[in-house]
């Protein structure tokens, strides 16, 4: 276990290094001009030159890369071009909102996956369900978010579709409003936070649910054909027990791997969904940073997301080894 943790930390560092190296490597291969990109197409040449100076782009790429790593080692992500504040401060401010929404989406996505797999398993050969699942899986995230916002917020007005909370001045200790509402004894805040979260979390959960659900369904079908399932049925235990004790656990590895693959996709989708629902998190921050070519901010968020991804991956791998003790960590 200790060896595994060491390995995954080493792995995390390597992944971050490779990620940043690809970004820097491409900069030197591809004739692109970040200074021009940042300064904007209409900026005068002097401004572009100043920007280039400011970013240190005249140095060799390896020097730039080394400088970047050095700053990274000190948790210094640079200063945002747009907000003029240290990127790490900005991230600290916006991270809780995104964490809350992301975790809710993963939980809801896994629940949806279970429901979809159960539906497909209980009603085998149903073309309708299969088609619905392919359909949801083919819906681009912004279409799903738009449709949800349009119908449930604008048309029906069942759920709020903008912002994170109706209570403007609320600030809790953890930054996760649902939990903070309970912690400070204001359940009405928690409820309101939950309601605000429902539509964006649902939009984010749909692709997770489809991908994981399809994987779970495929794995279950495979597992339920195995001889040991016949052995279990032969013992005269109920079909529910066969499915839960013998089927689900053996089918868990593949959908968990699929869940892990969904995490980076979730990060991308968070940008879109936070933009559409005006959710004040890292996603919205990144969208604004992208619009104003705020390179340090974007890279900073990418690094934080990268670390979160590695954290979640590690948790999922531990989960897989719990489900199947043949997988050694």
């Amino acid at each position: 276990m200790l060896v595994y943790l060491t390995k995954s930390i080493v792995g995390a560092v390597v992944v971050l290094l490779v990620m940043s190296f690809i970004v820097f490597g491409l900069q030197s291969i591809i004739p692109a001009d970040p200074a021009r990109a940042i300064a904007g197409p209409s900026a005068p040449p002097e401004a572009v030159e100043a920007m280039r100076e400011h970013l240190g782009l005249d140095d060799p790429v390896l020097v730039q890369y080394g400088r970047f790593l050095l700053r990274l080692a000190h948790a210094d992500l640079g200063t945002s071009v747009r907000t003029r504040k240290p990127v790490s401060d900005d991230i600290r401010q916006y991270l809780p909102a995104t964490l809350e929404l992301g975790l809710a989406s993963i939980a809801l996505g896994v629940a949806l996956a279970g429901v979809m797999a159960a539906l497909q398993f209980l009603i085998p050969g149903s073309g309708g369900i299969r088609f619905a699942i392919v359909g949801i899986g083919s819906t681009p995230i912004f279409l799903a978010a738009l449709l949800l916002a349009y119908f449930f917020w604008f048309r029906l007005d069942w759920l709020p579709g903008a912002g994170r909370l109706a209570y403007r001045d609320f600030a809790g200790p953890s930054g996760l409003n649902v939990i903070d509402g309970i912690l400070v004894g204001r359940p009405e805040v928690s409820l309101d936070a939950l309601l605000h979260m429902t539509l964006p979390a649902l939009a984010l959960a749909l692709p997770i649910g489809v991908a994981v659900g399809r994987s779970l369904n495929g794995a279950l079908h495979e597992v339920m054909r195995q001889p040991y399932i016949r052995t279990a049925r032969g013992k005269g235990i109920s079909e529910t027990k066969v499915l839960l004790r013998h089927g689900l656990r053996n089918a868990a590895t593949a959908p968990l791997s699929m869940l892990r693959l969904q995490i980076p996709i979730l990060f991308g989708n968070l940008l879109v969904v936070e933009r559409i629902f005006g959710w004040p998190g890292l996603g919205l921050y990144t969208v604004q940073a992208l619009a104003s070519a705020d390179l340090p901010a974007v890279l900073g968020v990418a690094i934080v997301f990268g670390m979160l991804y590695i954290l979640v991956s590690t948790l999922i791998e531990i989960g897989q080894s719990v489900a199947d003790s043949r997988i050694n960590l």
Partner: protein, 287 residues
């Protein structure tokens, strides 16, 4: 044991049979398998087949969908349907190009890895492993953010994180085939070199790659349109589907067709690609 026919005389040759292929693929899935080439042709011909010039004002602004303008018109009176068709080209062809590039590079790396084995395999697989755990969309985002927006940069960024999948698939298939008795038997029979690769190995690798690639088209369309939605694709006048939705987001409640219909076309493209992928998988796995 599987039941096998036992003919003394030969039945009619069951060579590749389209009707059988579509039957195994399934009804809806067959629509996808036929739809994908149709979409490709439409995408290639897009500039010539749009009913109106997509860049010019052809009617009043904000006309809702009607018989004359199927998808309505946009804020300066351009025909949305024509723009959407051109937009499909900007999304569909790059997706195919990314797949084609990743498939070529990935398969070549995978074949080298699988065929050489030993140390070469170990080194290549470590590299592939590393790429496989990289969070694709984050890389794409970081790369495009630092290189500046543009379709080419987006495509490069996606291809960089996509080829290792095909390297993994083709390498695993080659390794699996190499251990199969029939390939071993062919080698014992004296088949060597390119002949072994082309006649005995490659035909066994193609189905897995085809299944993987066909299921990936939709993923790449989604990723590309996501980047476009975030403003990282072509600059403003170009009718990119994701960007069209993103730019008209605020008019959702007034002119719903402006953001919804371009997104719906992305949905249609993904749906066809996904159905085709499922169909190809069902048809080839059964064989």
């Amino acid at each position: 044991m599987t039941k096998r026919p036992s003919p003394d005389t030969l039945p009619a040759r069951p060579r590749f049979n389209w009707r059988d292929f579509f039957r195994r693929a399934g009804g809806l899935e067959s629509v996808g398998i036929i739809g994908v080439p149709v979409v490709t042709v439409v995408a290639v011909l897009a500039p010539w087949i749009t009913p109106f010039d997509p860049q010019l004002r052809v009617a009043g602004a904000y006309l809702p969908p009607s018989a004359g303008h199927w998808f309505g018109t946009d804020e300066i009176g351009r025909d949305l349907f024509s723009r959407v068709i051109l937009g499909a080209q900007y999304t569909w062809l790059p997706a195919l190009a990314v797949i084609g590039f990743s498939l070529t590079v990935g398969t070549m790396v995978g074949l080298i890895s699988g065929l050489m084995g030993d140390k070469v395999d170990l080194v290549i697989q470590r590299i592939v492993d590393l790429f496989l755990v990289l969070p694709a969309s984050l890389i794409a985002l970081a790369v495009v953010a630092s290189l500046g927006p543009g379709l080419g940069n987006t495509m490069i960024a996606i291809a960089i994180v996509w080829w290792p999948w095909y390297a993994r698939i083709s390498r695993d298939e080659i390794r699996r085939l190499k251990a199969r008795p029939h390939v071993e038997a062919a080698r014992i029979a004296g088949v060597r070199g390119p002949r072994l690769l082309l006649r005995y190995l490659l035909p066994g690798v193609v189905p897995a790659l085809l299944i993987g690639a066909s299921l990936d088209v939709a993923n790449i369309v989604m990723t590309l349109s996501l980047m476009s939605f975030l403003g990282l694709g072509l600059p403003a006048p170009a009718p990119e589907l994701g960007a069209m939705t993103s730019r008209t987001l605020d008019s959702l409640t007034v002119h719903w067709w402006l953001p919804i219909l371009p997104a719906a076309i992305i949905f249609l493209l993904c749906l066809l690609a996904n159905l085709a992928g499922d169909g190809i998988r069902a048809a080839l796995r059964g064989a």
